[in-house]
């Protein structure tokens, strides 16, 4: 018997009585979603910045390699999209659009339609995600309602920069992926 057959047979043999699958109700959400979002993002060690602040930051820091797939910041792109993601290992700043965000935990949903390469938000040294005010929802239940049955090969909720607390529980930002996350709310 194949392992598939034996595993399934072992389960079927138990003749378990089906238990009910609950529906998920709606829950109250924060009254001011932008404020709640900002608060949550700070908790995850990310920051909300304005369009102007971001432009100023880019002007002042002079990131050598910038890739933006956000139309609002298209002019900052100064490199080509490579064939292989490893060639983005030296990417300093990526600016991408997020579809929507959940205020309770600052998580932003992105899928392949936002990602020219799946690796971009992870491999870049610094990450900026742009979201629209009206696309901030209250909690994860609302977020999954928004995702619905959309088909994408890859989707991700990003809620902050790469971080770790594996050394004596001290929080360190910038473990492997992006060392900072800035969110622009338009």
């Amino acid at each position: 018997m194949s392992s598939k057959a034996s595993i399934l047979a072992a389960i079927k043999g138990l003749n378990m009585k089906e238990k009910p699958l609950p529906e998920i109700p709606d829950f109250d959400v924060a009254p001011d979603l932008i404020e709640a979002y900002t608060h949550s993002l700070n908790g995850n060690k990310g920051t909300v910045v304005s369009k102007e602040e971001l432009e100023q930051l880019i002007a002042e820091t002079g990131f050598p390699k910038i890739y933006s797939s956000s139309p609002s910041f298209a002019t900052f792109t100064n490199c080509e999209l490579p064939q292989h993601p490893a060639d983005f290992a030296d990417l300093d700043l990526a600016i991408i659009e997020g579809q929507f965000a959940s205020a309770e935990n600052a998580a932003i949903w992105l899928d392949e339609s936002n990602l020219d390469l799946r690796a971009i938000p992870f491999i870049t040294a610094h990450l900026v995600i742009v979201i629209k005010k009206e696309n901030i929802v209250g909690n994860m239940h609302e977020a999954y309602k928004r995702i619905g049955a959309t088909k994408s090969g890859f989707g991700v909720f990003i809620a902050g920069p790469s971080k770790t607390a594996d050394i004596e529980q001290s929080l360190v930002v910038g473990a492997h992926g992006a060392m900072s996350l800035r969110v622009v709310i338009l």
Binding site: K4, P25, A119, F122, F154, S162, K163, E168, A175, G177
Partner: protein
Amino acid sequence: MSHPENATVFLKDKERAKWHDDTLWIVRQKRDVTIHQIPEWEKLRELASQIKDHTLSKLDFYLEELEKNATANGIKVHWAENAEEHNKIIGKILDEKNCKAIVKSKSILTEECHLNPFLEEKGIEVVDTDLGERIIQFLKQPPSHIVMPAIHLKKSDISDIFHEKLHTEKGNVDPVYLTHAARLHLREKFLQAKVAITGVNFAIAETGEFVVCTNEGNADMGVHLADTHIACMGIEKLIPRRKDLGVFLRLLARSATGQSITNYNSHFRSPSPGKELHLILVNNGRTKQLAREKFRNSLKCIRCGACMNTCPIYRRSGGFSYGSTVPGPIGSILSPGIDLKKYSTLPFASTLCGSCTDVCPVKINIHEQLYEWRQEITKAQGASLKGLSMKLANGIFKSPLAYKVSGKLMRASLKTLPDSIIYNPLNAWGKGRNLPNLPEESFKDWYKKNRNK
């Protein structure tokens, strides 16, 4: 394997033991703070529990759904009856790719299957990319906690091993410095790896996708740079619907560390063009546990680690004292199902305080299952010494006369013989504790004189 012996050794280094206890208690406190910000917390736990109960009750159906939908998405699905088969499947894929080095993000399942030694034997370099896991890999240790694998180590220990392996400055214990050194070291590994292995937090039957949660982003760094992604999951990791993730992602990180969510929650549905995505469904004893009605719902576990952080015994004995892949309360109800004899002391490594059950985001009645395992173990052991004295006790308590005599005798003998051999366990009692002061008369005698004349 004896938990009490291991615990005694752990507690010998008083300072370190206290530090371990305090560190985990802080994690528990962070969890308390966040969950109190969610008014519907208890409702979410109930939902999660019901969703998992439902899934387990139709596990065969959902597994087939998952396979069907995942296959349609272009994922190659494999089934493994046990650890050996799981390792072989991975070995075969690596052979086909002629792959000699892999990166791996955190997966308790691959620990359980002892994948690393298997691959290393084949001459394949395995790099664990979660920082905590990389640290213990350098030290050739297993994880001592399922979420915080290196929680037993101090930064000075980590500094020493990094000095040896990564040539960091001797004595530099700054976590930022050490983490940065690991970042540079692991970057190189990510950029070279052709195959990346990950675990799975949740697999969704309805869509055929699976979700991997990390804070470091190491799973994503691995898989998006590699050509082949192999994901390994126990068959209990399933949930029916995508929207169920809303419930579980709200619970998982809050329970684990007190964060509102992990920073990266990646949903894998199909491979990038030109790449390969494999999903291995592993049994390794899970259907056996499913067959044990009293212990079935231990399979609801989402591996958040909250029961470990809250457990007063885990905090004071460390993960290694359990001698099993999954330590702590949940480990103590899973492991006896794997090897009753080897793990027979684990269900007794608890005061049955019930704190684990109350923190568990999927409402596993952990302490009640510990109690039930005790009954199974004593049955399996037959008339051991402890059993004999307990049977004796039952005889005594059944008969008021015997109870009276033995009580009097005990009180009398305790007065004269503090190390009395009549009631042997009292020796262990007396090591760090005094016995109660003995009253002149029992309540029963008092009552007879004062109320029952």
